[in-house]
Every structure is written in structure tokens, then in C-alpha cells.
């Protein structure tokens, strides 16, 4: 079975660059939205709530950006077909003997 080619953004180098930029921007937007929310709900003084929001935003950005990239990659290319399994040696042995 042939591996599917990317259809949404193509399989070129430029498309890969676009996917990376898009996923990074997505991660940034998510963090931009999330951080004020954390600052609002965090119990504690104003300073602690704000610093906690900042720290969590820094920690969350990397996984969010990676997840966004995976999502963009999937949308662009779809799932990948399983690799065909290699034929077992025992079957060959029987044929060779015959």
C-alpha cells in the first residue's frame, strides 16, 4: 500500500514550514487565552496569581505547540497506513524444502 501524500498543504518543504508556523501560532494563541484565565481563578494574592499564570503558561506552551503541530500534521496528511508485515521465515523454509 502506498503511503498517502499530504493533501491540504502538499508535501513540499514550504508546506512543512507553514505547518510549523501555524502550530506555533496556535500554541501561542492558546497560551494567550489561557494565562489570564489562570490568573483570574488562582487563589492567593494578586501577585501570586499573576506569577502562577505566567509560570504555567511557560510550562504549557511547549506541549500545546507540539499537540497543535500533531493536529495540523494529521489534518494535512491524514493517518498513515500500517507498514506491511514481513513474511515469516518459516513459510519460506517450507517452500524451499519442497
Amino acid at each position: 500500500m502506498k503511503y498517502p501524500r499530504h493533501t491540504l498543504l502538499g508535501s513540499t518543504d514550504l508546506a512543512a514550514w507553514l505547518r510549523v508556523v501555524l502550530s506555533t501560532a496556535l500554541g501561542l494563541v492558546l497560551v494567550w487565552v489561557l494565562a489570564p484565565g489562570i490568573a483570574t481563578v488562582w487563589a492567593g494574592t494578586a501577585f501570586e496569581a499573576t506569577t502562577a499564570a505566567f509560570l504555567l503558561a511557560f510550562v504549557l506552551f511547549a506541549p500545546l505547540a507540539l499537540l497543535a503541530h500533531l493536529l495540523v500534521y494529521l489534518v494535512a496528511g491524514g493517518l498513515v497506513a500500517d507498514k506491511p508485515k514481513a513474511r515469516k521465515n518459516s513459510a519460506n523454509k517450507g517452500r524451499d524444502a519442497a
Binding site: T51, F54, F58
Partner: protein
């Protein structure tokens, strides 16, 4: 069906890693050097070397007394007089006479160095010294808040690239023992092992740097609590807000029965108590005035060690009325998150660090930069030739051009005429001229030799810097070390280490150039060598045509035997996963090449084992 996680991660790591590798190298190298910005400025101002004092108790007392006398002569009794005492980092004392209007804005404080022996101000050359490199690290010099935001955003993106690298990494420990000696394999293993080993430092430096730039980078986070007053968040971030419930002093030293000059007596006692209380001794003495009368004298710790307090040094205040010495309140104890916040910013600034810790921080930042550089070179070796050109040039510009420009800038701080007008501007111009020239050279020159040529220039610049540090100053580095001034010795040692590293890299690159690209040298000796050793391409074509006319197909095949020996030596080995792929394809290619068309109908079983035998049978 499955989700192509590894492919996606590899794509993210390779693409984003290219831009962020350049940026990361830039920021980490400049950050590592910025840890020594005061030392570099001191090294550049040779006029102040004679006035340098060892960071011991006697020298600090002498500097405080001399500074007080100088302030009495030159200042007016208002505002604050601040005297910086000799420390390990800055061994020359200085004095600032702060007017009442500037008391809350330290950017307007002007410190003038003075000679504690003669009691006179020193006339040092104007230089931007190490501060220029620090500004480049913080806000890309001249870009201001926009530069700061850009640096913070790219640093945040670096975290994502680090994380994808962690997921892609396999068998770190076994790789450590199987580092290839040369070629792409070496770069691959080096990048994996280097990045794996320096990962904690890289993450720590990036997150702590983000803490310092957070309010300008993600302002939306301030909206819920600081929408109207952003400035107060900055003030609290620096840990300088005191809360009303903590105004009790922690320790009180009662006044003795002092005789004679009251100010002198208070100062001497304050210094004595400070020396006993702090390991690093006092680093700053301030004289505060109220209604044109001296109200109090304050001493600040030279190097704070409390991370949870942003390593802000403790303060002792001597009252002029009572003579009692009390510790200044530190404010309310911060919570866990605030403590983390203060600790992160203190860690990035490195104010807490003694010389050895500072050296460790500098080396770890340089190691991170090194692993990033290895990643950039690896990408170049793996990438397609057509896509390599500009990327390769920019890598050369960043990895070699930047340190060369830094060396040129530091040389300019020492060698430009001290009396020149707008001297700091010229120093910056030297940096940008060298760095710009490096980019032009890398873009226009053949990529196989551009890197080598720039490395030669870097080695020469580093060697000149070392010579200047070793023989171009009085006292010399060894003399300075034995007279209690380790700064000059350490600077010379740093330049020497940079020279050795540059020469080593140049030598390694020369080996590669000799092997791969000597004939491509387009300079006159290189061209002559190439013309002597290789036939012109027109002659080669003519010879091939003649051969084709005279021989049959089988003979042609024999004339050009196929096989691994026929391959051109590439000079570097492929990474394991690429090498495996090539190995799997190799026998098929060999077969196709070995069989001339006339023999395609023959039995291929014997041909695949021995090309020449089968060809002989066919004939």
C-alpha cells in the same frame, strides 16, 4: 492505520530548530559573556587598573573613607551619596551623588570611579565594554521593547523544540560511549548527547529568562489584577515592595560611646558590623540626607544568597541620631509561587554567584550553544544540497561570525584612541561592520571554504585579544593575580581558552577542506593547484566520446566497473538511520549499473554474484 507522531515531531524539530538554533546560539553565547560584563568593562578601561583594590576588609574600609571625603569635597548635603566598594567583579570603587529628584530612578545615577589612594576621581575612557553585549542579549540592541518581546517569544518557542528533541531522543547513555570520530555521525551523536546533557541548563536558562521578560511578552496575563497599574507588578517582581506589617527590625546593635568625628565613627562601626555579619562583606554604602542634614548611613550586602528573596542583599542602617545599627526589613515572607518566581529571576541574573559558580554558569550556557551549533551543522549535512546554500551561510555567520565580531568589538574597546569623540558608537560600529562582513562573505563565498576562512579570522582576532590581555596592560595577568586582582587574570585566561578553541576548530576545518574542497579554492594558488591536478571538463568529455565510439556496450561496462569502490569519497559518514537506508538500496543500484542492456535477457542469478564473470561469459 496509525498516527505519524515521530514524523510530525521530526518535522517540527528540524524546521523550527533551524531558526531557533541560530537564535539560541546568538542568545546563549551573548548571555554567557554577559555574565562577565562588569569584568570586561573593567578590562577595557586600562586607566582604572592602577586604582583597583583587592576585595578585602581593609580595602573596603579605605574605599569607604576615601569616598566619603571625596563626596564632602564635591557634593552638596542633599539626596544620597552612594559609594560602591571594591568587589571580586568590580575592584575599582566609585561614587554617585544622587539628587533628591533622581532618588527613585536608578537609571539616572552616574557612578564615577575614584582612586582611594589619592582621593581623586579617575578619568577613564568612555566605553560601552561588556554592556553592549549584554544589551544585545536582552533586547537585540536598539530594538528596545520590541526586541525584548521578540527574544522572549523565540525563547518560548525554543522550549517546544527542546521538548520535541526529548521525545525524539533514544538511547542517550549508549550513544555517549559510541561517539563517532568524524563526519555526520559525529555531529549527530554530538548533538544528541550534548543537547541531552545540557537540557536541564537550557530549560532553566530559558524559563528564568522568560520570567524576566514576562510582563512585556504576555501582557494579557496582567489584565485580571494589574490592568490599571502594570508598574506595580514590575515593582513587586523585583521584590522591593515592603509591606506595612513587617516593619520590625530583626537585629539591633546598640551605639557605643564614640568620640571625635561622629560620621566617621558611625561609618567605621557600620562597616565592622557588616563585615562580621556577611561573608561577602558590604558592597555598597549610602549616606542619606534629610533637611540638608545626614540622617542615616546604610550598608548593603555585596552578594545576597537568598534565592527566595531574589538574592537581594541584606541592608544595615546606622542612625545618625541614636547610633543604633538595625537591619532593614525584608517585607512579608513570599508564598511558594512568588518564591519560585524570585528564585528563577535571581538564577538568570547570576548576582548570587561567586566566581566559580559564575564560571560554571558561563560554561553550561556555552555548552548549550555548542550543542545547538552541532544541531545546525547536522541539519546541513543531512539536508538536500539545493536547500543548503543560504542556511549554511547563515549558520556560518552566526556560529563563527558572531564570536569574531565580539572579539573585534572587545579589541576596539582597548585599541581605539581613548580621546576619540563618540567612542562607544565606534565600538558598536566595529562589531556590526565585522558581523555584516561575515554575512556577506558567507553568502557570496563558496560554502566549502567560507567557514574555514572565517575560522582563520576568528582565530587571529582571539589571538590578538589574548596578546592584548597578556602583554598590553599593567599590571599583567600574573602580577594582578598575586596582588589580589583575579579579574584581569581571569579575563586573560578566558581569551586564551577562546583562542585555543578557535585554533582547534580551524585545524579541524582545514582537515575537511583539504579532503573535500581543496580543488574548489578559487584563490590563485588553489586555482593553479586545481588546474595542475585535474583535466579540463572539455577534454574529459572529448575523451569519453572517443571511448564510446571505439568500444561496444560490453566493453564500456567493463571500462567503468561498478561497485562501492566506484563511489566518490564524500568525506563524511551518514547518520545511522540514513546509512541503513543506503545500505538497503546499495545492492539494487549495483545490479542495475553492472548489467548492460544487451545482457538484460540473460540469467541474472550469476550476474549478481560476480559482474566480471558474467560479462566474460556473455562475450
Amino acid at each position: 492505520m496509525n498516527i505519524p507522531i515521530t514524523k510530525a515531531l521530526r518535522e517540527q524539530h528540524a524546521k523550527a530548530g533551524l531558526i531557533l538554533g541560530w537564535f539560541g546560539f546568538f542568545v546563549f553565547v551573548l548571555g554567557a559573556i554577559s555574565l562577565y560584563r562588569h569584568e570586561l568593562t573593567f578590562w577595557a578601561q586600562t586607566e582604572t587598573h592602577r586604582a583597583a583594590l583587592a576585595p578585602d576588609r581593609e580595602s573596603r574600609a579605605l574605599a569607604a573613607r576615601a569616598g566619603l571625603e571625596l563626596a564632602k569635597k564635591t557634593g552638596s548635603p542633599e539626596g544620597v551619596w552612594i559609594i560602591t566598594l571594591p568587589t571580586e567583579r568590580n575592584p575599582v570603587p566609585s561614587l554617585a551623588l544622587v539628587q533628591p529628584g533622581d532618588m527613585h530612578d536608578h537609571h539616572h545615577w552616574v557612578f564615577k570611579s575614584f582612586d582611594a589612594g589619592t582621593g581623586e576621581f579617575l578619568t577613564a575612557r568612555e566605553t560601552c565594554g561588556g554592556n553592549f553585549l549584554y544589551r544585545l542579549h536582552v533586547d537585540l540592541f536598539g530594538l528596545g521593547p520590541a526586541g525584548r518581546k521578540l527574544v522572549a517569544f523565540l525563547a518560548l518557542c525554543m522550549l517546544a523544540v527542546l521538548l520535541s528533541g526529548v521525545f525524539l531522543r533514544k538511547n542517550l547513555v549508549s550513544r555517549m560511549f559510541s561517539l563517532g570520530k568524524s563526519g555526520a555521525r559525529m555531529w549527530y551523536e554530538g548533538h544528541c548527547v550534548g543537547a541531552g546533557a545540557t537540557l536541564p541548563f537550557a530549560a532553566l536558562f530559558i524559563v528564568s529568562g522568560l520570567v524576566l521578560a514576562s510582563q512585556s511578552f504576555l501582557p494579557a496575563t496582567l489584565f485580571p489584577h494589574y490592568r490599571e497599574d502594570r508598574r506595580s507588578f514590575v515593582v513587586e517582581s523585583k521584590g522591593i515592595r515592603t509591606t506595612p506589617d513587617a516593619f520590625e527590625a530583626r537585629a539591633i546593635y546598640a551605639a557605643g560611646s564614640g568620640q571625635g568625628d561622629r560620621v566617621r565613627e558611625r561609618l567605621e562601626r557600620l562597616l565592622l558590623v557588616a563585615e562580621k555579619r556577611w561573608d561577602s562583606g558590604p558592597g555598597l554604602v549610602s549616606f542619606r540626607f534629610a533637611d540638608n542634614r545626614l540622617a542615616e548611613i546604610e550598608a548593603s550586602e555585596a552578594r545576597g544568597t537568598l534565592f527566595g528573596r531574589r538574592t537581594a542583599g541584606e541592608r544595615l542602617t546606622a542612625s545618625m541620631e541614636s547610633g543604633d545599627i538595625v537591619t532593614k526589613p525584608r517585607g512579608r515572607e513570599p508564598g511558594v509561587v512568588a518564591t519560585l518566581w524570585y528564585a528563577a529571576s535571581a538564577l538568570h541574573l547570576g548576582r548570587f554567584a561567586d566566581p566559580f559558580t559564575r564560571l560554571f554558569m558561563c560554561l553550561s550556557a556555552l555548552c548549550v550553544a555548542g550543542s545547538l551549533a552541532m544541531g545546525l551543522v547536522l541539519r546541513e549535512r543531512k539536508g538536500r544540497a539545493a536547500a543548503r546554500g543560504a542556511a549554511s551561510a547563515i549558520t556560518t555567520w552566526m556560529v563563527i561570525g558572531l564570536p569574531t565580531a565580539m572579539a573585534g568589538h572587545l579589541l576596539a574597546t582597548r585599541l581605539l584612541d581613548p580621546g576619540l569623540a563618540a567612542r562607544p558608537g565606534l565600538e558598536k560600529a566595529v562589531f556590526f561592520a565585522i558581523w555584516g562582513a561575515s554575512l556577506v562573505h558567507a553568502l557570496l563565498r563558496d560554502s566549502h571554504v567560507a567557514r574555514f576562512e572565517q575560522l582563520v579570522l576568528a582565530s587571529v582576532a582571539a589571538a590578538l585579544l589574548s596578546l592584548q590581555a597578556m602583554f598590553g596592560q599593567d599590571p599583567g595577568p600574573l602580577q594582578a593575580l598575586f596582588s589580589g586582582l583575579p579579574v584581569l587574570f581571569g579575563t586573560a585566561l578566558m581569551f586564551l581558552a577562546a583562542t585555543i578553541l578557535a585554533i582547534f576548530c580551524t585545524f579541524r576545518e582545514w582537515e575537511r577542506v583539504k579532503r573535500e574542497a581543496f580543488a574548489r579554492y578559487t584563490s590563485l594558488p588553489g586555482r593553479l593547484w586545481a588546474s595542475l591536478t585535474t583535466l579540463p571538463s572539455s577534454l574529459k568529455r572529448a575523451a569519453q566520446n572517443l571511448g564510446k565510439q571505439g568500444k561496444g556496450r560490453g566493453e564500456q561496462a567493463l571500462a567503468k566497473p561498478a561497485g562501492p569502490a566506484d563511489k566518490k569519497p564524500t568525506g563524511f559518514r551518514l547518520p545511522a538511520f540514513l546509512a541503513k537506508k543506503e545500505k538497503a538500496q546499495a545492492p539494487r543500484k549495483q545490479e542495475v549499473r553492472a548489467l548492460p542492456k544487451a545482457l538484460e535477457s540473460e540469467d541474472t542469478a550469476s550476474t549478481s554474484t560476480s559482474d566480471t564473470t558474467s560479462l566474460g561469459q556473455a562475450q
